[in-house]
């Protein structure tokens, strides 16, 4: 049976089907091109605003570092602004801290303590001096133990840790050293380092792998070297670096104890303020960038551990 044009009835309408198919493909191509163009324009605009905001945030940091007030920058010509704030760190314990100071890492939340670099933590306030002895600090950490944290949680790059404590024993400056290694590192049996069980959760620093209490007991682990030196010794500073690691690893120190007993001052249980944290917020359009900078004004040079405290005479 044929239709009016003489075509078989079953073939009628095939042209329109093919036409619709071709048009659907063309529609899909057109839509994808337009959608890509819109998303590209949106992305490039966002990135441009992000760069403006970042540059403004850097300007905010510069304002604080140069001592400028108010710490506010307004680049009205290119529609970007920045405001910066700074505070001393570590700070005294806040509400909910149960009088224990929070861990000190510089800057807070940073996990980029680079391989081979040395971290320094003051245990005595570098800006205070005793009224009776100008060469001695007025404020210093007086507890006999101290927590150290290191290693990135769940990282296969398992770092060991070297810690050097510098203290004044009443007559001269002395060092005490720790070499700590993770028990599940493949080398741990060969290094003769103090083994540390790092398969624990650390609630106060959940991104960290290991915790060890220098001079004290934590869980079933006790420091074989005994407590940290007590008065008349004065704890001065702690230096640490990670060993055997290929990637950047975090490091933090936390004071132990609350010092609420008779004859104690809270500062006896705190690490002194030693760093300035600068936070700058740059804004451009709807984009905001935040830069955080940790400035440690007083740092001993990197060769300190290997020259000043050499047991043998230093000779060229």
């Amino acid at each position: 049976m044929n239709n009016q044009k003489g075509l078989p009835v079953r073939q009628a309408g095939q042209v329109i089907l093919i036409l619709i198919l071709v048009m659907s493909v063309a529609l899909a191509i057109g839509l994808s091109v337009i959608q890509r163009s819109l998303s590209d324009v949106s992305t490039s605009t966002d990135i441009e605003e992000s760069s403006r905001a970042f540059s403004a945030a850097e300007a905010g940091i510069e304002r604080i570092l140069s001592g400028g007030t108010p710490p506010f920058v307004n680049f009205s010509e290119n529609n970007s602004t920045a405001s910066a704030t700074s505070y001393n760190f570590p700070a005294p314990p806040g509400q909910g801290d149960n009088n224990r100071q929070r861990p000190f890492e510089c800057p807070p939340g940073d996990t980029s303590f680079a391989k081979e670099s040395v971290a320094q933590v003051w245990l005595a306030d570098p800006n205070s001096s005793s009224p009776t002895n100008p060469l001695a600090p007025a404020e210093y950490y007086k507890q006999t133990s101290l927590d150290v944290y290191w290693g990135l949680k769940n990282s296969t790059d398992k770092a060991a840790l070297e810690v050097i404590l510098v203290y004044w024993d009443g007559a001269k400056y002395v060092t005490r050293k720790w070499y700590l290694d993770q028990t599940d590192a493949v080398r741990s049996g060969n290094t003769q380092f103090t083994p540390v069980n790092c398969s624990i959760n650390i609630p106060q620093l959940p991104n960290y792998q290991c915790q060890y209490r220098l001079g004290g007991t934590l869980g079933s682990s006790t420091d074989p070297g005994g407590p940290l030196p007590a008065s008349p010794s004065v704890l001065m500073l702690l230096r640490a670096r990670t060993l055997y690691n290929e990637t950047s690893q975090p490091f933090a120190v936390q004071a132990v104890g609350t010092c609420t007993g008779v004859g104690q001052t809270p500062q006896d249980c705190w690490l002194p303020p030693q760093a300035k944290i600068i936070v700058s917020k740059g804004t451009s359009g709807q984009t905001r960038r935040i830069i955080q900078l940790c400035q440690v004004p007083k740092v001993v040079p990197s060769y300190f551990d290997y020259a000043i405290f050499s047991e043998d005479e230093i000779a060229k």
């Binding site: 063309a26 529609l27 057109g30 163009s37 760069s51 850097e58 510069e62 304002r63 010509e77």
Partner: protein, 125 residues
């Protein structure tokens, strides 16, 4: 009747989309240019940050980045000035750096401007 309306609607949509494709392609090119200009400007700021503050003199120079050739009629300037007194009210040792990259898209002038500050004893100093 319904088939005819359907065909007209589909054909209309396709024609509309096809007419917009050149604009869409132009927008894609424009966004690529914006991204490239931004990269050039950021690199200039980083270069200035690598210079010691004492060697950072007030200047207005042209950018000589080979990637400018990838922008239509691309050019750029880097201006180093003393910090504006409206911002640095106490005469702090801070320089203001302004990087501008210009180019043309579809015969329309386009520009990206990044501004920041570099201070004595500041970042990277």
């Amino acid at each position: 009747m319904v088939e005819s309306l359907l065909v007209v609607a589909v054909i209309g949509s396709v024609v509309f989309l096809m007419a917009n494709i050149p604009n869409a392609l132009m927008l894609i090119a424009k966004s690529n240019h914006v991204s490239l200009a931004r990269e050039i400007a950021v690199k200039q700021i980083e270069s200035k940050r690598a210079i010691n503050y004492t060697n950072l003199v007030n200047d207005n120079s042209t950018i000589s980045d080979p990637r400018l050739n990838l922008l239509p009629q691309g050019s750029g300037t880097v201006a180093v000035d003393d910090c504006s007194p409206t911002i640095c009210k106490n005469g702090e040792p801070v320089k203001q750096v302004t990087v501008t990259v210009n180019w043309k898209d579809n015969n329309k002038s386009q520009a990206i401007t990044l501004k920041t500050m570099i201070g004595e004893g500041g970042i990277n100093q």
